[in-house]
């Protein structure tokens, strides 16, 4: 029983990270109908930026956290305004290739700036744990779960109750109507990119103490695809539920199934979902009307 609880806790923590990255995909997809294959690499940039502030410049953890989020969010907005805006309306294939190319550039940039070694980020939660009954509760995992819950609550309030948040929803539901209502759609899209990149940076910094930082950290984005698809690509709660599901499945597969299944469990789930229910759990995909 204790083992199961332990697995559930760790699975939820890992799942939160997948959920956050998937959230980034979904935000951008809902708004601009672009799929950002570089989302995982934005996460990697976030982790590296925080590491740079903490270790190189000796900034405190929380300040570095905030700086990293701000830097990556700004970068996301610039990316949208400078590059990705130009491909809106072109075939999806172009966007896929463009973001893959950008991801490769980011990885290359990271390896030139920070080197290709593996780093650990010292945090206030590092290597601390509390024993609750038979379960070891690592503070790093708790920080991930708490951070995700806070972030989601914040985003929910932002999209539901602020003027900008409602404007963003409008822009993502119908661009033309949003223009008619006087919403600066382009600026909204840049802002959505900024939020999405910021979420990726948060996920990166939260993930950093659990998984070490290196330039291939971004490949976690591939597993987050599984989460996003599982939840139905256009649904925000779906992305989080999908992330948690994938995290749990992965941890339990690692514990009870033969060696090697853990690494591919997420992809197997993804393929099954796509074959059986391509619209995902929460998806509302219908057929195109002519």
């Amino acid at each position: 029983m204790d083992i199961v609880l332990q697995l559930v806790l760790n699975g939820l923590a890992v799942g939160c990270i997948y959920g956050l990255v998937a959230l980034g995909f979904v935000l951008i997809y809902k708004a601009t109908e672009l799929v950002n294959f570089a989302q995982g690499d934005l996460l990697m940039l976030g982790a590296f930026t925080c590491y740079m502030f903490v270790v190189w410049y000796g900034v405190g953890y929380w300040t570095a956290f905030a700086l990293a989020i701000a830097a990556v969010a700004l970068f996301g907005a610039v990316l949208d305004a400078g590059i990705l805006r130009r491909v809106i309306g072109q075939p999806q294939f172009a966007v896929v290739m463009l973001t893959i190319g950008l991801g490769a550039i980011f990885r290359s940039f990271a390896s030139m700036t920070w080197g290709s070694e593996i780093y650990t980020l010292p945090t206030p939660f590092s290597a601390k744990a509390t024993r609750l009954g038979g379960v070891t509760v690592s503070h790093e995992y708790v920080s991930i779960i708490v951070g995700t819950v806070l972030l989601c609550a914040g985003l929910y309030a932002f999209f539901g109750y602020t003027k900008v948040g409602v404007a963003m929803q409008a822009a993502s539901q119908n661009q033309l109507a949003a223009y008619y209502m006087g919403i600066p759609v382009k600026r909204m899209f840049s802002l959505i990119w900024a939020i999405s990149a910021g979420v990726a940076a948060i996920a990166g910094v939260l993930l950093a103490p659990v998984s070490l930082i290196d330039i291939n950290l971004g490949f976690i984005g591939l597993k987050a695809f599984a989460a996003a698809v599982l939840g139905g690509f256009g649904s925000i709660p779906g992305a989080l539920v999908g992330g948690l599901t994938i995290g749990l499945i992965e941890l339990f597969a690692g514990a009870y199934l033969p060696h090697g299944v853990k690494d591919v469990a997420a992809y197997v789930v993804l393929l099954i979902v796509l074959a059986v229910r391509p619209q995902g759990i929460f998806g509302t995909v219908g057929r195109k009307k002519v």
Binding site: E33, V35, I83, R86, V87, I88, G89, Q90, Q92, F93, A94, V96, M97, L98, I100, G101, L102, G103, A104, I105, R107, S108, F109, A110, S111, M112, S116, N174, Q175, L176, I215, L222, F225, A226, V229, F233, G234, G260, D263, V264, A266, Y267, V268, L270, L271, L274, A275, P278, V285, G286, R287, K288, K289, V290
Partner: protein, 380 residues
């Protein structure tokens, strides 16, 4: 500008537009026959270009003509390579039969992957093929009995009908022959009803469906044919690299293969070959540049004094020797092509040709692409 008036069925059925075009291809073929003599040091590299050309052809049929973008083609290449080596070396099947079997196995896997493809469109399919490739890579490293696992598997030199193709020159002609065969087959397939149906699916699934194209059949067929070509390329690729290991067939290789068709130009067979040449030449150019660029920069700055030149030399030298530079450059090229020349090298060539054909009357708008601001993309 010249118009071809077709006066007989033979002209309509011929593979080439006119005699001029045919003569150009004959000249190209002759050049390829003597190329190993002219560039003896590069024979092996050029056979790699031919193999990449096969890969490009495979992906071009799927992505360029049917509009199904796959990020998992490295897995098909791997399946072809491992299957061929297993049949030839472990089971002792004759070479030609083994290649045919490898193609059949890869095609079967391709059809299996393609079946759910009917239910997915656009980016979902890309993600699904990506997941498939990652699973297959794990299978390669776990299935020791067939693939040799992480230790890898050495590959012997090819031998057809008892004749050894061990020398680089012989292998060059083997690859050339296979590539020409595949090109001929694909070019003819693409002007058959099957190929027309593929193009129709690419341009509009709904329009194709309402014209009576069975989406399920033709999409699976495209997947199967593309995978079979990839299997063929995989068999040759195995002999080319001489040693199979699971990490060769990674996502990065899949991306490189896609890069090839994008850079070459989607929707043309020429593009597949241009892309292959580009992808094969680029690493050579980069390694040449690594040696010569620092000295060049230093020479350019030498009028500013010795200190500046030496400093620049050291800085540029350190920059170009970075290990992460090459994938970044690939990414940069990809981004630049998507932004500035989405039609690829082939498209640029077509524009240049048209410019001279229409000389004073060329209009840039001829090639302007229509943007589709469709809110209903996700409803497709």
């Amino acid at each position: 500008m010249r118009f071809i008036f077709k006066t007989s069925y033979a002209q309509e059925l011929g593979l080439f537009r006119d005699n001029v075009q045919r003569n150009w291809y004959v000249a190209l073929f002759a050049a390829l026959l003597v190329l190993p003599r002219a560039l003896p040091d590069y024979t092996s590299d050029i056979s790699l270009v031919f193999i990449y050309g096969l890969c490009g052809l495979s992906l071009m049929v799927l992505a360029g003509y049917t509009g199904l973008v796959s990020l998992g083609h490295a897995a098909f290449l791997g399946i072809g390579a491992y299957a061929h080596v297993f049949f030839v070396q472990d089971l002792g099947v004759p070479w030609v039969v083994s290649v045919a079997l490898a193609c059949a196995v890869t095609a079967a896997v391709g059809v299996l992957v393609g079946l759910p493809a009917l239910r997915m469109t656009g980016v979902y399919l890309t993600i699904a093929t990506l997941a498939f490739a990652l699973i297959i890579q794990e299978v390669f490293s776990r299935w020791d009995r067939v693939t040799g696992g992480l230790k890898g598997k050495p590959v012997n030199k090819p031998a057809l009908f008892g004749v050894s193709f061990a020398s680089e020159l012989a292998f060059y002609f083997l690859c050339l022959a296979v590539l020409i065969g595949a090109l001929w087959l694909t070019a003819n397939l693409l002007r058959s009803p099957t190929g027309r149906a593929w193009v129709a699916i690419r341009d509009s699934e709904i329009a194709a469906q309402s014209m009576g194209v069975n989406l399920a059949v033709y999409k699976t067929m495209a997947f199967g044919y593309s995978a079979a070509l990839m299997g063929l390329a995989g068999a040759l690729f195995a002999h080319k690299i001489g040693f199979l290991a699971p990490d060769i067939f990674s996502v990065l290789l899949s991306i490189q293969l896609l890069l090839m068709v994008v850079v070459g130009g989607l929707g043309s067979l020429h593009g597949a070959i241009y892309g292959a040449v580009f992808v094969a030449i680029l690493p050579v150019v980069i390694s040449q540049a690594r040696d010569s660029v620092p000295a060049f920069v230093a020479a350019a700055l030498s009028p500013l004094g010795k200190g500046a030149a030496d400093g620049a030399f050291a800085m540029v030298d350190r920059f170009v020797k970075q290990p992460g530079l090459e994938p970044g450059l690939f990414g940069l090229i990809l981004v630049l092509f998507i932004l500035f020349e989405p039609l690829g090298i082939y498209g640029r060539w077509a524009k240049i040709k048209l410019y001279f054909a229409l000389f004073p009357l060329y209009k840039r708008a001829t090639f302007r692409r229509q943007k589709a601001y469709m809110r209903s993309e996700r409803l497709r």
